[in-house]
Symmetry: C2
Subunit: 301 residues, 2 copies
């Protein structure tokens, strides 16, 4: 029975992945950027990836009967911002990674300047997509999404997380569980919380539901980060598409560095249970999201 459920979820995830990739491809083909800049942007976005963030947006949106033609815009914007962050993460002055999803990183495929400008262009294009006239929703909601988007990816969110993550590489930096949680919440969880929040906003969720969705997203983000830390230690390079044990080499702030593998695995279980608990408060059919928690917990890439 469990096996069947997993197969269904894989199908669902892949279906949504194909859909959003088709949309991203169509959108990127039509932009009027200089030819080579367009190539950089397209390579960065269409270079594989599980598209888990768009999947989360779609599943939360579906809880509220929001159509694909509406939620596809924030889905694309979020994925573009995510891809922007990956380009930057891989740069020599950041994590210096030549491989991403088993293929040359953007600055290796092109060059550093191209990676920088392509990344920033994607970030701006994410805003363009979210503020676009084609994305037809109430203007107040659209502005709210734009503000929340900035909060989740800017100096209070993802970029702050990347910044703190680099600071914590310094051997003199005294890391503890509280500081680690702050880094991982900003770096990963806030954008995932935004994915959940988007679906709620589009679907006219109540304030209480929005708070539950946001908190659920934060826990899901935490789960995502713990499994990322574990995969770096115990994963298979062929499946992850990136070098193993890199966190230790770079002295990264991970839950494993702070508390060890066993603690990480216990935390994973605890958060998985917390996340499912949050979902139960929505009083909706959240079976797919619940399965997604298990899927992320047992992911191999």
């Amino acid at each position: 029975m469990k096996e069947k459920k997993k197969i269904d979820l894989n199908l669902k995830i892949n279906k949504q992945k194909r859909l959003i990739e088709k949309e991203l491809k169509k959108t990127l083909v039509n932009i009027s950027a200089p030819k080579d800049l367009k190539s950089v942007m397209s390579y960065a976005v269409l270079n594989g990836g599980k598209r888990i963030r768009p999947f989360i947006v779609s599943e939360v949106s579906k809880l509220y009967k929001v159509n694909y033609s509406t939620y596809k815009y924030p889905s694309m914007a979020i994925e573009m911002a995510h891809c922007f962050s990956l380009i930057y993460d891989d740069l020599p002055c950041m994590d210096d990674d030549d491989l991403r999803r088993g293929k040359p990183s953007v600055h290796i495929k092109f060059n550093e300047a191209n990676a920088l400008l392509g990344g920033a262009s994607l970030l701006i294009f994410a805003y363009n997509t979210l503020s676009s006239k084609k994305f037809i929703i109430d203007k107040k909601k659209k502005l709210l999404l734009l503000e929340s988007f900035s909060n989740s990816i800017g100096h209070e969110g993802m970029l702050a997380g990347q910044f703190l993550d680099l600071e914590a590489e310094n051997p003199k930096f005294k890391i503890n569980l509280k500081k680690l949680s702050e880094i991982q919440e900003k770096k990963t969880a806030l954008l995932i919380a935004f994915c959940c929040y988007v679906g709620g906003i589009l679907g006219n969720a109540t304030k209480k539901e929005l708070a539950i969705l946001f908190d659920f997203g934060l826990i899901l983000g935490k789960i995502f980060q713990i499994t990322d830390d574990l995969l770096d230690k115990e994963g298979n390079q062929k499946l992850t598409g990136k070098k193993i044990n890199k966190d230790e080499t770079l002295n990264k702030a991970t839950i494993i560095r702070v508390k060890g593998i066993n603690f990480a695995k216990k935390e994973l279980k605890k958060n998985s249970s917390d996340a499912k608990n949050k979902l139960s408060y929505l009083n909706k059919n959240t079976e797919v999201l619940s399965q997604l928690i298990d899927y992320i917990c047992s992911r191999t890439s």
Copy 2:
């Protein structure tokens, strides 16, 4: 008489500069970013600069009786995006410049990763400022400004210009006046045109007026770029705060490389006259903007 006018304009520019710098400082002090990230962002924004773009926003806004409490938000957003572009321009993989406004560039003062993340944070903060609830204007207008902002700084605008500018450094790149115009329009002029457009949108300008304002901005941007090219050749390093003759060293696409100094000076005169002509169609008291053209033409920094 002419001298008196110039002194008045300097006063006006400096007054607006103080005002917007105070506002930027106040805004940046209040953000809840990690301490060191906040330092990078503040250093990049509060590191001098003439604040010509906010001045243009203010002068066009004043033509339409728009208040400072309204136009200060787009002014700040534009200045942040401009500062973001300067950080990136100076990076080793771009123009590799250690000096900006006579002080260490951001990546020299801090490091490359900090410069990258601080720059991108400023870009996101620019969007945050423009979409902020505090910026009280009609929601439709705000969304229009957000879309136009992306168009002027993204893959169709400033970043495309920076991208093409780097491509044109290649000795094999065949530059001509048409290609040069495209690079400079994207790299510099579109954001200046947006400054003019903002004032018109805020002030309920007619479609015809908006088109005039935008075209005026494009010409002003062209003037700005030509004087920039000339300053690199004939300027005083103490006044410009950056190395002289760098364009030739980097094989930059400049009007001087394509057509020589004399042609550049003629173009400056022609564009100056065109810009004044555009202003005349507005049927408003555009004396300050007209003086601004002369000010930019004769700038020494």
